[in-house]
Subunit: 194 residues, 2 copies
DNA sequence: CGTCTCGTTGAGAGTTTTCAATGTAAGTGG
DNA sequence: CCACTTACATTGAAAACTCTCAACGAGACG
């Protein structure tokens, strides 16, 4: 079944009965996404949270000078949304774009809140993964404050080895917080040293 | 009662019966904290999450060059802990220090998990505040990636106006991610412009 | 074959840090 | 309450880091 990746992900954190699985699965909507498609747009409300079944997405903001800054990459088995817009149902400041085509499972905030009442353990699941996301986000903040650009790039390479050769380098630059030109220069310097 | 600030904070997000209040209150331990005291130390396990009843704390990490980077300030009515250590019960990478003396209410992870079963709505409360903390953390990440040091300082001043004149400037520098010297230069430049 | 996006390279400019010196405010012990 | 000590803030000059702008090359795709 298509949602197995999702249900297994959930089952790694809480115990699911067969009835729970059915209740959960019934609330999700499947959607195929094409490369470069914008799943959510800045200015609109992020009605849903997306679980990536296949492919890869990214969330990013555009600053006043038109530069993009990447908040998150979401390969298969990850969640992605604009959390601010999703929980407040106000206008989003983020864009979510498809890097590599695939399929996502969408859950609206309204349906999520219904599910929390129908399947209380699911609220525990989201509490846990939100705690984990908070830890990651804060660790990245520490990294941005304490590491040099060179160290942030090396850190990215070891943390996401599968992505390094799979996505354009300008996206890595927009994630670690340097210009594409400067990332290029760092890379050529790293190669020269070997 | 001393825990009113805490119980009212919780009650802003969920409905609490009198019985719930008692169950919750019984799990917290009060602790007076003195200026410069380290509530949690790097290398130890952050057994508890702390709710600040009065005073002000900060969490920070120390990088390989000995520089401090501040993750969070916690004035009264805020939560603070090393989330990574608290949820995994592994060794902490953060220090939590008292900036201004006051009182905190401590809840251990074990007691928190018991409370989640005793008072299911409390798990909802923590889900909600964790969602909010995630939004803040990610917004700060965006700010660090897209704003100049000057803009980050101005942003800090408007976001935490009460703190600007209440804590040493070197702490603000360690929060926005510049050296104390450079913050001083930015400030003198801002004054000159007026 | 063109077109478009991406990556590379170089020179120059802008930002931020480092280091060292000085001044100032605040806490401590007598 | 004063003298002493310590931590914090300021300033300047030089160095380090990162960006900007412009040009060029390579590959992907229609």
């Amino acid at each position: 079944m298509t949602l197995n990746l999702l249900l297994n992900n959930i089952a790694r954190h809480i115990i699911l009965s067969e009835a729970d699985r059915k209740k959960i699965a019934s609330r999700f909507v499947l959607k195929e996404v094409k490369k470069k498609e914008l799943l959510f747009k800045e200015g609109a409300v992020a009605k849903d949270v997306a679980f990536v079944l296949s492919g890869c997405l990214r969330s990013y903001s555009v600053d006043e000078n038109g530069f993009e800054h990447i908040l998150q990459f979401a390969p298969a088995d990850w969640w992605i949304t604009d959390m601010y817009s999703f929980i407040s149902q106000k206008k989003s400041h983020l864009n979510i774009e498809v890097i590599n085509a695939g399929e996502v499972a969408l859950l609206s905030r309204v349906d999520q809140l219904h599910l929390f009442d129908e399947v209380p353990a699911l609220e525990r699941y989201f509490r846990i993964i939100t705690e984990n996301a908070l830890v990651s986000s804060r660790q990245r903040l520490i990294d941005n404050l304490s590491l040099t650009a060179r160290q942030r790039y090396e850190h990215f390479c070891t943390t996401y080895p599968s992505m390094v050769n799979d996505i354009p380098q300008k996206l890595i630059a927009a994630y670690i917080g340097v210009t594409p030109e400067f990332l290029s220069k760092m890379r050529s310097e790293l190669l020269r040293k070997k």
